[in-house]
């Protein structure tokens, strides 16, 4: 029986940042494989390369060396437009600081990526309503981020990340600016997303979130040291 093709696979990934005092190696020959519908948590001390690895997996950054394929496509061979398209339609991003557009309502923030992807107005309306109900904010659709709590903003951000039905959800410290109770609520939401078939890779210091993942990778000094 042949193993299922990985959703994303990175081999021997290295990322160096040139600095005035000398190059800094944030990621050092790391290899990783994420399968469809898998739930992976990446933990480690600050500065160990977790976010760097996440950015490479999300095609937001490019490795200094090593290879990365997404759904079988060599990311290094893709131009910026193609990588943007992958990020828009196949990957969802959830950030620590939410990064919602402050001048748009919750509804408009969730609808925006769908419009960018060319989804029709009627489909956008249906999908946006569905997503906001999914994250429990059906009664807050006309509220702007300034009128929402931290947890509510993060739920809107998760809805936005799921707008175009991505195969992979990447979350960088999604509970980093939330209290424990709210962080648990977000973790519950991730469970639901995973149960519905979306692969999740979450970088986190939160033990509760990490415990929910099916696989946990520990990083230190730019390397994956334990699994």
């Amino acid at each position: 029986m042949t193993p299922a093709a990985p959703l994303i696979e990175g081999r021997d990934l290295t990322r160096q940042f040139p600095m005035a005092a000398g190059a800094v190696t944030a990621l050092n020959h790391a290899s990783i494989r994420i399968d469809p519908a898998e739930y992976v948590a990446i933990t480690g001390p600050s500065g160990c390369g977790k976010s760097t690895l996440l950015h490479l997996l999300g095609c937001v950054d490019q490795p200094s060396s090593g290879s990365l394929t997404f759904e079988g496509r060599d990311v290094a061979r893709l131009n910026e437009t193609e990588r943007s398209r992958i990020r828009l339609t196949r990957i969802g991003f959830v950030f620590q600081r939410f990064f919602l557009l402050p001048m748009l309502t919750a509804w408009e923030n969730v609808e925006l990526p769908q419009a960018e992807a060319g989804v029709s107005r009627s489909e956008r309306r249906t999908r946006t309503r569905e997503l906001l109900e999914y994250v429990g904010l059906a009664d807050r659709i006309d509220h702007r981020p300034s009128q929402l709590s931290g947890g509510e903003m993060q739920r809107v951000a998760i809805a936005r990340a799921l707008a175009n039905r991505p195969a992979l959800l990447l979350a960088d410290e999604p509970t980093g600016e939330l209290d424990e109770v709210t962080g648990d609520q977000i973790a519950d939401l991730f469970d639901r997303v995973h149960a519905d078939g979306t692969a999740i890779v979450v970088v986190t210091h939160n033990a509760t979130v990490a415990a929910r993942a099916g696989r946990r990778l520990a990083m230190n000094s730019g390397r994956i040291v334990a699994e």
């Binding site: 976010s51 760097t52 950015h55 999300g58 937001v60 950054d61 910026e80 437009t81 943007s84 398209r85 992958i86 990020r87 828009l88 339609t89 990957i91 969802g92 991003f93 950030f95 620590q96 600081r97 990064f99 557009l101 402050p102 001048m103 748009l104 408009e108 609808e111 925006l112 990526p113 419009a115 960018e116 992807a117 936005r160 990340a161 175009n164 960088d172 410290e173």
Partner: protein
């Protein structure tokens, strides 16, 4: 949400900054609009003034603008020009300064611009408000005269009043001559606050002691419809070589090359400076806006928004700032032009009907084109900033900060 929709929401998310930016663009745009109006205004107005007089050729004597000899034997010349096949109408113009007063009130008299002309020239140069024009046939003594509103007001003249004119200053030996006022109006060529009076050639000669000098300062010629003024100019030059015959187009060309060129140079320099100010204002505001939203921009790029989409959003923001400000600039600039025009028309020697700022549709089109180009250029650097943003590094630094 379209790029325009997102741009609008971004612009109005900071209302104070938006209003200040648009007001700044409106003020700068108003100045630009004024400079564009000034760049052609006087020329257009002068052309209208020349054309409205009804004559398309002007014949003057030899000499310079400071000292020009009168045209001798003016009547035979006028008759010869009148006989040219391409000529429809001819008028003689004689000018001098005179002292005008009402009998018994010489102390209240005023200095006037005194013109003698053929009767058919009056209708095209004067707008009468009371009374009638000069009669076609020579009238009996006293000669008829038309006075402008300023003179009529100064000496309380009405049609039927008697007016006395003495040529020259206080030391003149010529006696004053009586005229009957037949009409009151405004001359197209009078300057502000100027006192002016026009009579027949016979009446003009009477003021000069009736010496019968057949001279004229200028001969006005109207070409027949369909006949080129330059052809008639050539024919007149053949009739009497040495005279300065010029069509209205040639007069305008000379005016454009000598007198008007200074206005045009000034307006060009000031137009360039206003555009530079507009560029700097919009570029600075957009750059600050982008720098304040780096995290947002990086997040949008991480979510899959292309560089082109980010650039389009910024272009739309620039277009909104410049577009709304630029539109507001038009009525503001128009009001400013009216005010400045009123001031400039008080310059000595400038006919009252000359305007320095003249509205033409092409000026609006040029204004729109220049403001559009400025808005596009001003967005280039902010677009470059946003499009070249390192996504991962920006997200990282936003979190750290």
């Amino acid at each position: 949400m379209s790029a325009w929709g997102l741009a609008w929401r971004t612009v109005i998310s900071n209302p104070a900054r938006a209003v200040l930016a648009m007001t700044g663009v409106a003020v700068i745009g108003a100045l630009l609009f004024n400079m564009l109006l000034l760049s052609r205004g006087m020329l257009v107005s002068f052309r209208d003034l020349l054309d409205a007089a009804g004559y398309d050729i002007r014949v003057a004597g030899q000499g310079s603008a400071l000292h020009r000899l009168p045209i001798a034997d003016a009547t035979p010349l006028a008759d010869a020009i009148r006989r040219l096949p391409g000529v429809q109408q001819v008028a003689l113009i004689r000018t001098d300064t005179a002292f005008a007063f009402v009998a018994g009130r010489e102390r209240d008299g005023v200095s006037v611009t005194f013109v003698g002309t053929t009767a058919n020239a009056v209708g095209s140069a004067w707008d009468l408000v009371r009374g009638a024009s000069l009669p076609d046939t020579p009238a009996a003594d006293p000669a008829p005269i038309i006075v402008n509103v300023t003179l009529a007001r100064a000496l309380q003249l009405e049609p039927g009043s008697m007016l006395r004119l003495r040529i020259g200053g206080a030391g003149t030996a010529l006696p004053p001559v009586a005229y009957r006022v037949v009409g009151v109006g405004t001359s197209r060529f009078e300057t502000m606050d100027e006192d002016a009076a026009t009579t027949t050639l016979q009446g003009f000669d009477a003021a000069h002691g009736g010496e019968g000098h057949d001279e004229a300062e200028m001969v006005l010629v109207a070409s027949r419809p369909g006949v080129s003024a330059s052809d008639n100019v050539a024919a007149i030059n053949r009739l009497r070589p040495g005279l300065r015959s010029m069509s209205n187009d040639q007069v305008l060309e000379q005016f454009n090359e000598h007198a008007f060129t200074y206005f045009r140079q000034i307006s060009t320099v000031l137009s360039a400076m206003t555009l530079a100010f507009a560029f700097l204002l919009v570029a600075t505001l957009l750059t600050i806006s982008v720098n304040q939203r780096l995290g947002e921009v990086a997040a949008l790029r991480a979510l899959g928004f292309s560089r082109r989409r980010i650039a389009t959003n910024l272009l739309c923001e620039s277009a909104l700032l410049v577009g709304i400000g630029g539109l507001a600039a038009l009525p503001l600039g128009g009001a400013l032009a009216i005010w400045l025009d009123r001031i400039l028309r008080h310059m000595p020697g400038v006919p009252e009907r000359i305007h320095f700022f003249v509205f033409e549709p092409r000026t609006v089109a040029l204004h729109v084109a220049l403001m559009t180009a400025t808005g596009l250029l001003a967005a280039l650097y902010p677009i470059w900033l946003a499009a070249r943003l390192p996504i991962a590094a920006t997200l990282r630094s936003e979190i750290v900060s």
